[in-house]
Symmetry: C2
Subunit: 694 residues, 2 copies
C-alpha cells in the first residue's frame, strides 16, 4: 500500500470532520434564539467572550512572534536546510489551528446557550439535543483541524520534527488558553458568589450582580476554549510522540515505515468512530442525560476497537506475505489496551466525584460537623483517588510495552500507541465536555431572562449530567496526558541519543539526574500555586469593584439600573492574561535552563519529576474539586439539612476551595507538562551538544 | 589510631549524654510542683499519657515479636551465621532504645508542664528555664541512646548490617509513635475545639470540656514522644546509611576503614557540641524566648563545625604520612555543607510560617473575604514553600557529591555524610522541639487551675516561641530525612549489586523502574489520606461522646460535676492505635511486594518515587499547617478584627484543616519513607536473588 494513501486519508478525514462541525454549527444557528430579553443577555455573554478571546489571541500572536523568531534563529544553525524557518512556521500553524478550533467552539457555545434554554421550554430531550449538537461542533472541529494539519505538514515535508513544531504551537496556546481561562472563570465565579450570594444575599445568576456576565463568560473561556485547547494539545502531542518514536526506530531499521504513519491513521479511524457514535447520543423522554453521555463514550470506544481490528486485518490481508507491509498485532493490542484503560480510569474517577457513591456522601455528611472536616475529608479522598488512575496508567504502560516487545515491536513505541488509543476518543470526549458549559450558561440565561421555573429545572438536570461527564473527562484527559508525556519523554531521550551520538541513561543514582527529578517535582507545585494565587488576587479586585458599584448606584440592587458588566469582564480578562506571564515563562525557561546548565540527563530527570508530581497534583486537585462541588449539590438536593443548613455552608466553602483546584490549577498541569516535554524535545539538537555540566 | 578508640568514644559519649539527661531529669523534679489543684490536673494528664504509652508499647511488642520472628526465619537462610537471629535481636533492641528515650521524654514532660506553669509565676525566664531543661532531657537521651546502642552493636559484631536491624526497629517504632501520636493529638484537639469552643462556647483548656485532658495528653504523645521518635529514626538511619556505604566502599577497597566509623564519631562530636551549646540557652528578663531557641541552634552548629574541623586536623596530624589513616578534607566539606544547609532550610521555613513575614499576614488579611480564600491562599503558599527546601536538598546533595568526588571519595558517601552533618544538631533540635508541648501544657494547666492572668500570658509568650521553633524543626527534619533516605536509597542499590553480583541501573526509561516510581509516588498520598481520615473519623466519635456527656449530666457545664475525662482519653488511644494497622502494613508490605514481584529495579524506582512525593507532601502539609496556625494567632493578636471577627472564624477553619496536615500526616511521611527504605535495604539479600520480573 502506498503510504501516501494514509496521508490522504488523514487529509480527507480531517476535512470531513471540519465539514461536519460546520454543518452542525449551521444546524445550531437554526434553532430558535428566543425572546428579545434572552437574546440581549446572550449578547452580553457573547461580547464578553469575544473581548477576552481577542485579548488572548493578541497575547498569543505577540508570544508566537517572539518564540517563532527565537526558533527560526536558534535552529538556523541545525544541519537540515531551513529547519529553523520551517519549525517556526509549523509552530505558528499549530497555534493557529488550535486557536481556530477553540474559536469555533466558543462561537457556537455562545450561540447555543440561549437556544438550549429556549429548547428546554419544550423539554429536557430538546434542550439536550441543541447543547450536545453544539458541543459536537467543538469535538469535530478539534480532531479535524489536528489531523488535517498534521497530515498536511507531513505530506509536504516528510519530517516528523517539523510536526513537533506544530505540536509545540498547539501546546503553548493550550497553556495560555487553559491557564488563562481557568483563572478568568474562577475569578468571576468566586467574586460573584462571595459578594452576591454571601454578602448581599441575591441568588446565583441574578442580573443585578455586576459579575454575573463575567461568570457566564468564564464558563465559556475556561471550559470550552480552555479545555478544548488542552485536549487538542494532548491529542497532537500523543500522535507526534508516537510518530517521532516510529521515525527514530525506522531510521535504525528496527521497524518498517508504516509505523511512522500508523498513529495518524488511528486518528482517522477515531474520526470515523465519532461519526458513527454521534447520532446514537439521544435522550428519550425519561432518560437521564448523564447516561446518554457516558453511553456515547463507551459506544464510540467499542466502534473504534472494532474498526481498528478490521483495519489491521485488511492491511495484513492486503500485505500478503510481505512482512514489511504487515502490521504487527502487538500494535493493535497496545492501542486497544490504552483505549480500555482510558475508559476504566474515567469510571473510577466517577466513583470519587459522583454523588451515588460514598466519598461524596461522606463529605456531605461530615460537613454538618464543621467546615474544617469538609476540607480535610474531601482532600483525603482526593489523595486516595490518585491511586486507581496511576495504577491504570502503570498497567497501560506495562501492558503496551511488554506486549509490543513480545510481538517484536519496540516497547516504548507501544506505549506511544496506547496514548494514541486513549486519545482516539477525543472527538466524543470534547463533545461531551463542551456540552457542560453550554448547559451551565443555558441555566444562567433561563434564570436571568425570567423563564419559568420548569425551564430552569430542566436546564439544571442537563447541567448536573454535564458535571459528571466533566469529571470523567478530566480523569481521562489527565491519564492520557500522562501516557503521552511518557512517550514524549522517550522521544526526548531518543532525540538526545541521536544528536549526541551517545547512549543516554536516566539513572536515578546519577546525582545530576536525581537533582533534575527533584527540581522537576517542584515545578507543578509552583505552577499551581501561581495560578491559584492569581485567582484569589483577581477575585479580591473584582470583589472591590462589585462593592463599589453597589455603593455608587443603589438602583442596581433594586433592579432599576443595570450594573456595569464590562468593568468586571475587563478585570477578569486583563487579570487572567497578566497572571499568565509567570507560568508561561516558567514552563519554557525552566527546562531549557536545566538542560543547558545541568545537561541532558538532568533535563530527562526534570521532565520525569514534573510528570510524576504533575500527574499526582492534577488528579488530586481535579478529583477533590469535583467531589466538593458534588457534595454541595448533594446537600442542596435536600440531604443533611439542605440549602441554608450548617452543612451547606461548610460545603459551599469546600466548593470555593475546589473551584480553582478543579478548574484552574488541576487541569492546567496537563498542559504544563506537555509544554515542558515539547520544549525539551524540540531543543534536543542543541541541548545534546551544548551544556555546561553532565 | 586504633579504630576501637572511636567505638569506645561512641560508648562513652552516648553514656554521658544519657547521664546528662538523667541529671537534668532530677533537676526538673526538684522544681516546685505547685498547688494541689495544679498537681491534680497534671496528674490526669500524666495518667492519660501513661495509658496511651502502655497501649502503644503493647502494640509495638506484638508487632516486634511478629516482625522479629519473620526476620529471624527469613534471614536464617542468608549465608552469614546467625544473621537472622542477630538482625531480629538488633531490631528489638532498636525499637526498645527508641521507646526508652521516648518514654523518658514523656515522663519528664508530664512532670515539667505543671512546674513550668508554677515557675511562670516568677517570670518568663524562670518558666523558660524549667521547660527548656525538661526538653533537653529528651534531646540528650535520644542522641545518647542512639549513639550508645549503635556503638555497642558494632563493637560486638563488627557488621553494619546488624545495625541496620537496629535502625529498622527504631524506624518502625517511630512510624507507630509518630502516626499514632499524630492521630491521637488531632482527634482530641479537633473534637475539643468543635464542641467546646464552637458549640457550647467555653474557652480553650476549660476543665468542663470532657476532651480537655485528652487534648493535653495529645500534645505529649504527638509532639514529645512522636516527634522525638521521628527524629531518632532519621538520626539512626542517616548514620547507618553512611556506615553501610562506607562498609561497601571499604569492601571494594575504594576507601579506608575509618570512613565506616566516621559517621558514628561525628555523632559523638555532635553530642559534645550539644553539651557546650546547652548552657548558653538562657532568656534574659526582656529577651524573646524564640530568639534564645534559634540562637541555641545556630550556636551549636558553629561549635560543631569548629570541633569537627579540629578533629580532622588532629587526626591528620596524628596520621602523619600514612594516607590510610588520614581523613579526607572532602568528607569535612560534605559534612559542613549538610549542616549549613540544614540551618538555611530551617530559616526559609520560618519565612513561610512566621507572622513577621508576608505569607502569614497575607492569609490573615484575605481571611476577611471568606474561608475559601483562606484555604486556597494558605495551600498555595504551602506549595511555594516546597521550592526553597527542595533546592536546598539538591544543593546539599550536589555539593556533597561532587566535592567528595573531587577529593577522591565516593560521591554518594559524601551525601551520606551531609545527612549526618544535618542531623548532628539532633540533640539541640529535639530539646527545642520537646520544649514546645511542655509550655503548651503549662499554659493549659495554668488556665485550668485558675492561676492569674499574668501567668497565663507568660505561658502564652513561651508557647508562641515554641511554635516558631517547631516550624523550623519540621523543615529541618524533613530535609534531613530526605537526604538520609537518598543515602539509604544508594545503600539499597549497593546491597542489591553486592548480593546479585550484577550492576543495578535505575533507568527511568526502563518501564519497570518507571512503573515503580509511579507506584511509589502514590504511597505518601494514600498514607496521608489514611491518617487524616482516621483523625476525622475518631474526632467524630469523640464529638458524640462529648455531646453525650453534656446532655447526660448538666452539672458538667455548670462546673459542679467533673466530666469523665478517661472516656475521651480511651477513644483517642484506641482509635489511634486501630488506625495504625493499615498504614504500618502499607509501609512494610508495599515495598516487599514491589521488590519480590516487579524486581529490584522497580523497587529502587518505588523508593525513589515515595521519596519524591513524600518530601513534597511533607513540606506542603507541615508548612501550610504552620502558616494557618500562625495566621489565626496573628488575627487573635488583634489584627484584621481580632478574635470573633469574620476573619478569625475563617482563620479558625484554616487552623482546623492545618492541624492534621502539620501534626498528623505531614511529619509522619518522614518515618514512612524511612521505614520503606529500611525494609527494602534489609531485604536486599533476598530480593536481589528472588523476584518474578525484572
Amino acid at each position: 500500500m502506498n503510504m501516501n494513501v494514509w496521508l490522504y486519508a488523514g487529509l480527507v478525514g480531517g476535512a470531513l470532520s471540519i465539514l461536519a462541525a460546520l454543518v452542525n454549527y449551521r444546524k445550531v444557528l437554526q434553532y430558535d434564539p428566543g425572546s428579545e430579553r434572552a437574546q440581549e443577555i446572550a449578547g452580553w455573554i457573547r461580547a464578553g467572550a469575544s473581548t477576552y478571546l481577542k485579548l488572548l489571541y493578541k497575547t498569543l500572536i505577540a508570544l508566537a512572534i517572539v518564540f517563532g523568531l527565537i526558533l527560526a534563529v536558534v535552529f538556523a544553525g541545525v544541519e537540515k536546510q531551513n529547519h529553523g524557518l520551517l519549525t517556526a512556521a509549523a509552530f505558528a500553524f499549530g497555534a493557529l489551528c488550535s486557536a481556530l478550533a477553540g474559536w469555533l467552539g466558543m462561537k457556537v457555545a455562545v450561540e447555543a446557550n440561549v437556544r438550549t434554554a429556549v429548547a428546554c421550554q419544550d423539554g429536557v430531550p430538546q434542550g439536550f439535543n441543541v447543547a450536545f449538537k453544539a458541543g459536537s461542533v467543538m469535538g469535530l472541529a478539534m480532531v479535524g483541524v489536528a489531523v488535517f494539519g498534521m497530515s498536511l505538514l507531513y505530506l509536504i515535508w516528510k519530517d516528523v520534527e517539523i510536526i513537533l513544531g506544530f505540536s509545540f504551537g498547539a501546546s503553548l496556546l493550550a497553556l495560555l488558553a487553559k491557564a488563562g481561562g481557568g483563572i478568568y472563570t474562577k475569578t468571576a465565579d468566586i467574586a460573584a458568589d462571595l459578594v452576591g450570594k454571601v454578602e448581599v444575599g441575591i441568588p446565583e445568576d441574578d442580573p443585578r450582580n455586576p459579575a454575573v456576565i463575567a461568570d457566564n463568560v468564564g464558563d465559556n473561556v475556561g471550559d470550552v476554549a480552555g479545555m478544548g485547547a488542552d485536549i487538542f494539545d494532548s491529542y497532537v502531542a500523543a500522535v507526534v510522540a508516537s510518530m517521532l518514536l516510529g521515525a527514530s526506530f525506522f531510521a535504525s531499521n528496527t521497524i518498517s515505515f508504516q509505523y511512522v504513519l500508523l498513529p495518524l491513521l488511528l486518528c482517522v479511524i477515531g474520526i470515523i468512530s465519532t461519526f458513527i457514535g454521534l447520532p446514537f447520543v439521544r435522550v428519550g423522554k425519561d432518560d437521564k442525560p448523564g447516561r446518554a453521555l457516558n453511553f456515547s463514550t463507551v459506544f464510540t470506544c467499542i466502534v473504534f476497537a472494532v474498526l481498528t481490528t478490521m483495519f489491521f486485518i485488511i492491511v495484513n490481508l492486503a500485505a500478503g506475505d510481505d512482512p514489511s507491509k504487515q502490521l504487527n498485532w502487538g500494535a493493535l493490542i497496545a492501542t486497544v489496551a490504552g483505549l480500555i484503560i482510558a475508559v476504566i480510569i474515567g469510571f473510577t474517577t466517577d466513583y470519587f466525584t459522583n454523588d451515588e457513591h460514598s466519598p461524596v456522601r461522606r463529605v456531605a455528611e461530615i460537613s454538618s460537623s464543621g467546615t474544617g472536616l469538609t476540607i480535610i475529608t474531601g482532600f483525603s479522598y482526593g489523595l486516595i483517588s490518585i491511586a486507581p488512575a496511576v495504577i491504570g496508567i502503570v498497567v497501560a504502560m506495562i501492558v503496551a510495552f511488554f506486549v509490543s516487545q513480545a510481538f517484536g515491536l519496540p516497547g516504548i513505541y507501544g506505549v506511544g500507541l496506547a496514548a494514541v488509543g486513549m486519545l482516539s476518543l477525543t472527538g466524543i470526549v470534547v463533545s461531551n465536555d463542551a456540552y457542560g458549559p453550554i448547559v451551565d450558561n443555558a441555566k444562567g440565561i433561563a434564570e436571568m431572562s425570567g423563564m419559568s421555573h420548569d425551564v430552569v429545572d430542566r436546564a439544571d438536570t442537563l447541567d448536573s449530567a454535564g458535571n459528571t461527564a466533566k469529571a470523567i473527562t478530566k480523569g481521562f484527559s489527565i491519564s492520557a496526558a500522562a501516557l503521552t508525556v511518557l512517550a514524549m519523554f522517550a522521544a526526548y531521550c531518543e532525540g538526545i541519543e541521536a544528536y549526541s551520538k551517545k547512549a543516554l541513561t536516566l539513572d536515578l543514582l546519577d546525582p545530576l539526574v536525581l537533582a533534575g527529578v527533584l527540581l522537576g517535582c517542584v515545578i507543578p507545585a509552583l505552577f499551581s500555586a501561581s495560578l491559584m494565587l492569581s485567582v484569589t488576587k483577581n477575585a479580591f479586585t473584582m470583589i472591590e469593584e462589585i462593592r463599589r458599584q453597589f455603593k455608587a448606584e443603589p438602583g442596581i440592587l433594586k433592579g432599576t439600573v443595570l450594573p456595569d458588566y464590562t468593568k468586571c469582564i475587563s478585570i477578569a480578562s486583563s487579570g487572567a492574561l497578566k497572571a499568565l506571564i509567570g507560568p508561561a515563562i516558567l514552563a519554557v525557561i525552566c527546562p531549557l535552563f536545566v538542560g543547558f546548565v545541568l545537561g541532558p540527563g538532568a533535563l530527562g530527570g526534570f521532565l520525569g519529576g514534573s510528570i510524576f508530581t504533575g500527574v499526582i497534583f492534577a488528579l488530586l486537585m481535579s478529583n477533590s474539586g469535583g467531589l466538593w462541588d458534588n457534595s454541595k449539590k448533594y446537600i442542596e438536593a435536600g440531604n443533611f439539612g439542605g440549602s441554608g443548613s450548617e452543612a451547606h455552608k461548610a460545603a459551599v466553602v469546600g466548593d470555593t476551595v475546589g473551584d480553582p483546584f478543579k478548574d484552574t490549577a488541576g487541569p492546567s498541569l496537563n498542559t504544563l507538562i506537555t509544554v515542558m516535554s515539547l520544549v525539551s524535545t524540540l531543543f534536543t539538537p542543541l541541548i545534546a551538544v551544548w551544556h555546561i555540566f553532565g
